[in-house]
């Protein structure tokens, strides 16, 4: 089973890298340059010292995974490769987990590489001889949250892609979901009455960061599990072929 998941991962990675000829590699380098060099260089020491960076690294994998995961099943269906894949000895779980795993590996690896590049950039530009690094607890929280965020988007993406008629339809649904995740909290808070906003800010400022991240990670893990279970229930070879 693990070996079979690995085979699907290998195939997905090859396809991502060969997208548009060899443009796949170029896209990766641009993303790393933006998230790992340009933004940290603009932000300076705050990039490492402010807790807001934690939220950024939780959002990045959502965006990264959403750019590739729409293709997982809808793309195979559109390019007429799905039925041949389904006619092989691979189990349903291996195909499904391989696709989810490929999305997670793509999003999380890029995020971690960008984080590392960000640390290097800030140290080179603003270190002044001192090694600047995230507090260890924050670094662990960032790694954990970004992994779970990548998993969340990969599971949600696979579920959407299983149902979508085309890659475009799947991509639109996922972009909408990412936008909602980003803008609903921002505009939602602004829409609250001023006294509620003040109360919320007070609650946030007194929040135990470690406990909040733990709670967020447990919630993300549960959401991951729920979405994976839904995707597994949706994965029926006959339905995939006839859709």
């Amino acid at each position: 089973m693990i070996a079979d998941i690995g085979v699907v991962l290998w195939k997905e990675a090859k396809e991502i890298m060969r997208y548009g000829g060899n443009r796949g590699w170029l896209s990766l380098l641009i993303l790393i340059a933006v998230y790992g060099i340009f933004i940290p260089w603009q932000m300076g020491r705050a990039w490492i010292e402010e807790p807001l960076a934690l939220l950024f690294w939780a959002w990045v994998p959502l965006f990264l995974v959403s750019t590739v995961i729409a293709d997982s099943f809808a793309g195979e269906r559109e390019r007429h490769t799905l039925e041949t894949l389904l006619a092989t000895r691979l189990s349903d779980q291996a195909i499904l987990l391989g696709k989810v795993g490929a999305g997670v590996a793509y999003g999380w690896t890029l995020t971690v590489v960008s984080m590392a590049a960000g640390v290097i950039t800030v140290n080179l530009a603003f270190g002044q001889g001192r090694f600047l690094f995230y507090p260890l607890g924050a670094a662990a929280a960032m790694l954990g949250t970004s992994l779970l965020a990548a998993g969340l988007m990969a599971s949600a993406g696979v579920l959407v892609s299983l149902r979508a008629a085309t890659v475009r339809q799947a991509a639109q649904s996922l972009s909408l979901a990412v936008m909602l995740l980003l803008f609903v909290p921002i505009f939602g808070v602004q829409a609250l009455p001023p006294e509620w906003q003040a109360r919320l800010m007070t609650a946030v400022s007194h929040l135990n960061t470690a406990r909040a991240f733990l709670l967020a990670m447990v919630t993300l893990a549960l959401l991951n599990l729920a979405l994976l279970t839904a995707a597994k229930a949706r994965f029926r070879r006959a339905r995939l072929i006839l859709d």
Binding site: D4, V7, K11, T88
Partner: protein, 310 residues
């Protein structure tokens, strides 16, 4: 181990009101090339999907290599290779990577996998182009690669949906030879659908004719021709005048006599001695150069079956 590779019992699949496969009962012996013939939309592809366990039947049962398609589909897919309606190739990947992927799927050890990929790509004349993205290739090249992929893991049973579609005549003939030798050498069973009746006649140990989901006939091509086609004679020569044809048609053993492309085709009511007919023609002024006795081709049998069913 049973001698039957595929057995279906009243296999049925409906899509709403449409009966794509309708009470199909069939037994395909192991180690033969079985041709499944039928017009577009007759249920050939649905049958392959049912046999691979990709679709569940509405009624009836099917056993492939001794495994139940409804409960042991993974066992079937483990032992089968398939070229389905579409080539199913990953067009962003190279030819080599496409085969590498399927070699990994079937857990072929690395050294063996590499040797097998080389063997197959060399055989279909694509080894030199193995690093190219498949998306840039012609349909025929893709088809050759897809056939190679279906044979990669030396399956006991190969499903091929229109395997020679898009191939040039030389490549199609080479593929036919490969399939025949695969069945003979490795004891593999090949279940293929085709519109090319001459191909089926040349290649298949048995054929089944399907229309609107119903099996109309099954047997060796010769049996079908004998069952459905009356004997006939084909006479090559000159001077087949109207008078000569009229004399011929007046004979009780002659059902019909027509000139096609300079050849006189005489349909006979039963096996008969041709000498008196040739004498009659020569007496009427015809010059006879060659006489061939035979039966209706599989294509004619097929068309007759389609007409009867209508």
């Amino acid at each position: 181990m049973t001698d039957v590779a595929i057995r279906t019992e009243n296999l049925t699949r409906h899509f709403g009101a449409v009966r794509a496969v309708d009470g199909l009962s069939l037994a395909v012996p192991r180690g033969i090339v079985f041709g499944f013939l039928g017009p577009n939309g007759s249920g050939k592809t649905t049958t392959i999907r049912l046999l691979l366990g990709l679709l569940e039947p509405t009624g009836g049962r099917a056993f492939v290599l001794g495994y139940d398609t409804q409960t042991q589909a993974n066992e079937i897919r483990q032992r089968s290779g398939a070229l389905l309606e579409h080539s199913g190739l990953y067009e962003r990947l190279s030819a080599e990577d496409n085969l590498e992927l399927y070699g990994r799927i079937w857990h072929i050890p690395k050294a063996e996998r590499q040797a097998r990929i080389r063997e197959l790509l060399t055989h279909v004349g694509l080894w030199e182009r193995r690093k190219e993205s498949v998306g840039q290739w012609s349909r025929g090249m893709k088809q050759k690669l897809a056939v190679a992929r279906a044979l990669l893991h030396r399956p006991s049973l190969v499903f091929l949906d229109e395997p020679t579609a898009g191939l040039d005549p030389v490549a199609a003939a080479a593929l036919r030879d490969d399939l025949a030798s695969l069945a003979a050498r490795e004891g593999a069973t090949i279940f293929l659908t085709t519109h090319n009746l001459a191909e089926a006649e040349r290649l298949c140990g048995q054929v089944g004719v399907i229309r609107q989901g119903k099996l109309l006939a099954v047997g060796h091509p010769d049996e079908l021709r004998a069952r459905s086609g009356a004997p006939r004679a084909e006479i090559v020569g000159r001077g087949f005048s109207r008078e000569a044809l009229a004399l011929l048609r007046a004979r009780p053993e002659v059902a019909a006599a027509e000139v096609h492309n300079g050849r006189l085709v005489v349909d006979l009511r039963q096996e008969t001695n041709l000498a008196p007919l040739i004498s009659l023609l020569v007496g009427a002024g015809a010059a006879v150069e060659e006489v061939r006795k035979g039966r209706a081709s599989l294509e004619e049998v097929f068309l007759t079956l389609m007409e009867e069913e209508k």
